[in-house]
């Protein structure tokens, strides 16, 4: 591969990124080797390897963060240039991913113990962890693509694990969406390497990528690929099918972590649009002097980033609202959480969009996105594990058939409640922190853009979606844990075993920790991660570290969503809107499926029609070939006669190659035609020459 890589600023050679990927991969083989023979050993091995991956990620922290450097590993064998590297943003993702994986693996001990194909479950858990860490620790788009594809495929067996009809149907949707996304991403990566001349995440400022509009083509294809994984509307169709179909620990990972690979991709795209900050210092100085709106000063690639930003913002708004509305009307707890994931991914994309829109000053938007990624990983995983525990105890996922579980399952109730308060964005829980940050970012976009009218919509949608979130989570927790027990299953529920409680407790502790010490997490993880965005205004980023979250203003800001949420709840209760079901044709999935099925039908119908035509015209061709066939029949007669009489007389060999002898005769008989064809060909050639010369 002849492509040149941009040299990183300060890189440290280290094998740790490779080890982080290798540990779960090796674990996969070990778990496969142990198999069903020793269940306990296998389970503990799986947890050990997941913990090992987490430990390696933690071990990378000092190098990557304190020395402001990138730990890098170069594998020469794979097309000469396969690089893994941990930069500050990748490390944040890898830490979150490996932590949630550890919790989910621990949780799986008991949860998966009652199901079939346990070894296969752990094997693919570890394989997808390896691939997921690979995505986050890749040094360029090439290795990112490689791991992204593997992750998509490795998660398929998790989705269809139960082998029920729903799971298999979800699997078909999932795998094909993953294939579409992978192909689009591959095209994007190939075009990126062509235009940017590098595969790394920092495009050269003078390359065609940043000086012509070609970056939009690349970004378009990549966004399609990453958008599918991120559950971005209108590419989300697989998500509400696949996430609920998987066993709960796998759902927690799909929704908590793997979906973030899509958001990670979006952040990487934004990164490629950025050029070093130095070029903009002068421009920023003018802005501070004149107090003019920043975006008017954006030129060149920053202008492109600005435009990309509002496209992402629009997609984010669509995603937020669609996910929220559909989550409101679900009865299945896991489907509700899946739609909630779509909506929350909208929040994350909003942060990314605003970060892009604001150009050099987009630090706050990107920080909001990163923080919400961190938070969503913890609370969504926690919620999925929580409803998984409910399912474990009751074998029931319909909210309408649950109820009154808080007394029977106090731990599960408490942990799920913490997760719920987190996602609602209630003060002192982690969602509050990131939503506050996102809200600030979106207000800043409004202010800086000089009052672009449509940006006001963003604030309105933000508030409504936050309100909707409060409403559907209240519905989830209310119907599941409060009221009276609406089924025998619910009445006989018992608290789940210790491992499951420990796993949920750990995640709940993280939700609380972030909520209580938001500044520490900000300074330790989020702000360093922003360093990969080389164009950001460093003063503004430094200022983010001093941000106070628990101010009166911020705390009052949750009142409007709360009011909206309560209104939603009352209105929907009053007119029974919770049971509203839209016709299938209202969703995009209906049309996707029709297109796919239509295509297959076309193939089969075409094949049938071809058969009919063949049957019609074949006799005609047959008469033309009659002469040939006659000869052939004669040859066959000869062959049969020869077989009957034996072939020992031929060369006197005691060999069973009678077929060969007959075949020689056949060739002799068809020889006429052969020579005919040769002569014909030569004549045609000679004629062609005489005509052409």
């Amino acid at each position: 591969m002849m492509l040149v890589h941009e040299a990183g600023s300060a890189t440290v050679k280290s094998v740790l990124p490779g080890v982080a990927v290798l540990v779960p991969l090796v674990g996969m083989f070990v778990v496969l080797a142990v198999g069903d023979r020793a269940e306990k050993v296998r389970n503990w091995l799986a947890v050990t390897f997941a913990a090992g991956a987490f430990a390696v990620c933690v071990a990378m922290y000092p190098t990557v963060i304190s020395e402001h450097s990138v730990a890098e590993l170069n594998l020469d064998i794979f097309l000469g240039d396969f690089r893994l590297a941990t930069d500050q943003m990748g490390l944040l993702f890898a830490l979150v991913a490996s932590a949630v994986w550890l919790a989910a693996t621990l949780y799986s001990f008991n949860y998966i113990g009652h199901e079939e194909r346990r070894t296969s479950f752990f094997v693919f858990m570890l394989l997808s962890e390896a691939a997921c860490l690979g995505v986050f620790l890749s040094a360029d788009f090439f290795s990112l693509f490689v791991f992204f594809e593997i992750m998509g495929l490795a998660a398929y067996p998790l989705v269809v694990h139960s082998r029920t009809y729903e799971a298999r149907r979800a699997g078909v949707k999932y795998i094909f969406m993953a294939v579409y996304g992978g192909l689009s991403l591959l095209l994007g990566v190939l075009l990126y390497s062509n235009y940017a001349g590098v595969l790394g995440f920092t495009a050269r400022p003078e390359s065609a990528y940043l000086t012509t509009g070609s970056c939009f083509i690349v970004a378009g294809f990549m966004m399609f690929g990453f958008g599918i994984k991120a559950g971005m509307v209108p590419l989300h169709v697989w998500l509400p099918l696949a996430h609920p179909a998987a066993p709960s620990p796998a759902s927690a990972l799909l929704s908590g972590v793997m979906i973030k690979a899509g958001a990670f991709g979006f952040l990487r795209i934004v990164q490629t649009f950025q050029t070093p900050a130095t070029e903009h210092v002068a421009r920023l100085a003018t802005r501070y002097a004149t107090e003019a709106p920043a975006t008017e000063h954006l030129t060149g690639s920053w202008r492109y980033l600005h435009d990309l930003g509002w496209v992402i913002i629009l997609l984010a708004l669509l995603t937020m609202v669609t996910g929220m509305v559909l989550a409101l009307v679900q009865d299945n707890v896991k489907r509700l959480l899946a739609y909630s994931s779509i909506s929350q991914m909208g929040f994350i994309l909003l942060g990314v969009g605003v970060g892009a829109y604001l150009g050099p000053e987009g630090g706050i938007g990107l920080a909001g996105a990163l923080y919400h990624i961190l938070n969503h990983a913890f609370f969504k995983a926690l919620l999925f594990l929580g409803v998984g525990a409910v399912y474990y105890a009751t074998h029931e996922l319909e909210m309408t058939k649950l109820g009154g579980l808080w007394r029977k399952m106090p731990f599960t109730f408490a942990f799920t409640l913490i997760g719920g308060l987190g996602i609602m964005g209630i003060t002192a829980f982690n969602g509050f922190v990131s939503k506050t940050l996102l809200h600030h970012a979106e207000i800043e976009a409004l202010n800086v853009a000089g009052g672009a009218a449509w940006l006001r919509v963003v604030d309105v949608v933000f508030m409504i979606t936050a309100g909707g979130t409060i409403c559907y989570i209240a519905k989830l927790i209310g119907l599941t844990f409060f009221g009276h027990q609406r089924s025998a299953h619910a009445a006989h529920a018992r608290e789940v075993p210790a491992f499951m409680r420990v796993a949920m407790g750990a995640l709940a502790a993280m939700v609380l920790a972030v909520g209580l010490f938001p500044g520490w997490f900000m300074r330790t993880f989020i702000i360093p991660a922003l360093r990969v965005f080389i164009g950001l205004d460093s003063h503004a980023v430094a200022h983010l570290g001093e941000l106070k979250f628990y101010t009166l203003d911020n705390m009052l800001a949750i009142l409007p969503p709360l009011a909206i949420g309560v209104t939603f709840f009352l209105v929907m209760r009053r007119w029974d809107l919770f049971r509203l079901r839209l016709p299938e044709a209202a969703g995009v999935d209906y049309y996707y499926t029709r297109t796919e099925v239509g295509f297959l039908r076309l193939c089969f119908a075409g094949s049938r029609r071809y058969g009919q035509l063949r049957a019609k015209y074949y006799p005609l061709a047959r008469t033309r070939a009659e002469y040939l066939l006659d000869l052939w029949r004669y040859a066959n007669q000869e062959y049969r006669r020869a077989r009957r009489e034996g072939f020992d007389r031929i060369a006197g060999l005691p060999m069973d190659i009678s077929g060969f002898t007959a075949y020689v005769r056949a060739v002799q008989f068809t020889g006429d035609i052969v020579y005919g064809v040769i002569i014909f060909a030569v004549v045609v050639a000679v004629l062609a020459f005489t005509l052409l010369l």
């Binding site: 594809e149 593997i150 294939v179 190939l190 049938r608 060999m655 069973d656 068809t670 050639a685 052409l692």
Partner: protein
């Protein structure tokens, strides 16, 4: 450039497989089991004889041997250059795999089968090692004929029909190639392969060159199954026994592609082809084949027939890569020869095990096969994923190189063809994997009695190669290193 050495080794390699006939004559009746073991040993010996040339090939060197002068300008001679070595080595490896597999799969008419298998290897090596178009043509024709008994091996009515079709196609193709060789002889200076183009616009007019080129393409296109010359492929593959189909698809189709490589690099040369402007039309033909053959594969219900259509599409990847006329494209095209050989080899060998163990040929019946034949179906799944171009398998490497090649040739839009093809591959391969593993609720149980080891081991080796070639790409000795030497010499 490496040095030129003279040696008798080429003819020893080419004629070693003939020992099979001797063994058959001596012991086929009296000691059937021993003789079958010896057949395999002979194939392995052939492979081992090729290996010593490894160093020379990696340096871009050439081993020559002159056999006989027929008339002035027409010689029977061998010449092993890097691309010939690459192809020869691939032939030997696949032949060993298929030979071992046949020990378990073939239950009747052993002698005829193994004799023609060996003759086929000999002729294919002759094609790979030939020093000029005349020698290549001779061996190419012999190879075409020697394939016939393998196709009709089962002697069913269906197999005979397929065999007839095959004969008509390949014999007429042979005649067409002969016409092209004659034209080249009369208009060009030499029939020899010299590592660069021997025809030039200075001596021959453009229409003549175009005619020679098109006649060559028509001739080799039948074996390389460029649409619409592919008609025999979907009939011959399902009819032949599995190891023979694996060879047909894995290497025999590539012999046609190899002929095209010779025409490209040793008859015309890249510069002349650019001047003639034949690259783009051939790219369109290849793209058409890739897409249409993939579409044809979708409604096929017979497993081997679906695989056959897939081969038609995949072989055109080679044509696509070669006619991009850019270094990376050529790397992709040449890599595809080996990579596809292992992918499709695995698939056909797996199909053979399925048919042998369960008797199922129809894809709709594949439900739950994965729990009965877990290792087989895992190999199948890996190869199927490789066909889709999944990273960490060899299919991805070719796709990536072809993509880079398309960009390098400023024809980036051909990437779309590759992507559509990958998607269609997913459409027709994934359902098989799904049916085998994910449709039924049965738990997979590995058992030692899955199938005979003689069938399982070659299949798994091919399956592992699919991954090895996809990860350890640049390790010296694997296709990539050899292909790089070839491409660096040509461009």
């Amino acid at each position: 450039m490496g040095k030129v050495t003279s040696s008798v080794l080429p003819s020893i390699i080419v004629f070693t497989p003939w020992l099979t006939l001797l063994v058959a004559a001596l012991w086929a009746r009296s000691r059937p089991r021993t003789s079958r073991g010896l057949y395999t040993a002979i194939t392995v010996a052939t492979g081992l004889l090729i290996l010593p040339m490894y160093g020379i090939a990696l340096d871009g060197g050439v081993v020559r041997q002159h056999l006989v002068r027929v008339v002035p300008g027409i010689d029977l001679a061998f010449r092993i250059d890097t691309v010939g070595f690459y192809f020869g080595l691939l032939l030997a490896v696949l032949w060993i795999a298929a030979g071992v597999y046949s020990l378990g799969y073939i239950h009747e008419r052993h002698t005829r089968y193994y004799c023609f298998l060996a003759l086929n290897l000999s002729f294919c090596l002759g094609v790979a090692f030939s020093a000029n178009m005349f020698t290549l043509f001779i061996f190419y024709e012999l190879m075409s004929l020697a394939t016939y008994p393998l196709i009709i091996h089962e002697e069913t009515a269906l197999a005979r029909r397929a065999g007839l079709k095959y004969l008509i196609y390949s014999i007429s193709a042979g005649a067409v190639i002969l016409a092209a060789v004659l034209m080249q002889y009369f208009y060009g200076d030499t029939l020899s392969f010299l590592g660069h183009g021997t025809l030039s616009l200075a001596k021959v007019s453009k229409p003549v060159l175009l005619t020679i080129f098109s006649v060559y393409m028509l001739g080799f296109g039948v074996k390389a199954c460029i649409m619409p010359l592919h008609g025999w492929v979907p009939d011959a593959h399902p009819a032949a026994p599995a190891p023979a189909s694996a060879l047909l698809s894995g290497v025999l189709l590539k012999v046609g592609a190899f002929g095209i490589i010779r025409v490209l690099y040793d008859v015309f040369g890249i510069k002349l082809l650019r001047e003639l402007g034949v690259g783009l039309p051939m790219l369109y033909v290849a793209s058409f084949t890739i897409i249409v053959a993939s579409l044809f594969a979708i409604p096929q219900t017979d497993l081997k027939r679906r695989l056959a259509y897939s081969s038609v599409a995949q072989v055109s990847y080679i044509i696509l890569g070669l006619f991009l006329l850019s270094p990376d494209g050529a790397v992709g095209g040449l890599l595809q020869i080996a990579h596809h050989a292992f992918m499709k080899g695995t698939l056909f060998l797996c199909a053979g095990i399925i048919i042998h163990e369960t008797g199922k040929r129809d894809i709709a019946d594949m439900e739950g096969v994965g729990s009965k034949l877990p290792l087989t179906m895992m190999a199948f799944s890996i190869a199927a994923l490789a066909m889709m171009g999944t990273p960490a398998t060899c299919g991805f490497i070719t796709k990536w190189e072809l993509g880079l090649g398309a960009i390098q040739a400023h024809r980036g839009y051909f990437i779309v063809v590759l992507l559509i093809s990958a998607l269609l591959n997913a459409v027709y391969y994934l359902p098989i994997v799904y049916l085998a593993f994910f449709k039924s609720k049965e738990t997979i149980k590995f058992s030692k009695r899955e199938t005979r080891p003689s069938m399982l081991i070659p299949t798994l080796v091919c399956g592992v190669m699919v991954i090895v070639l996809g990860i350890f790409v640049t390790v010296p000795g694997l296709p990539y290193s050899l292909v790089k030497v070839v491409v660096n010499a040509v461009f």
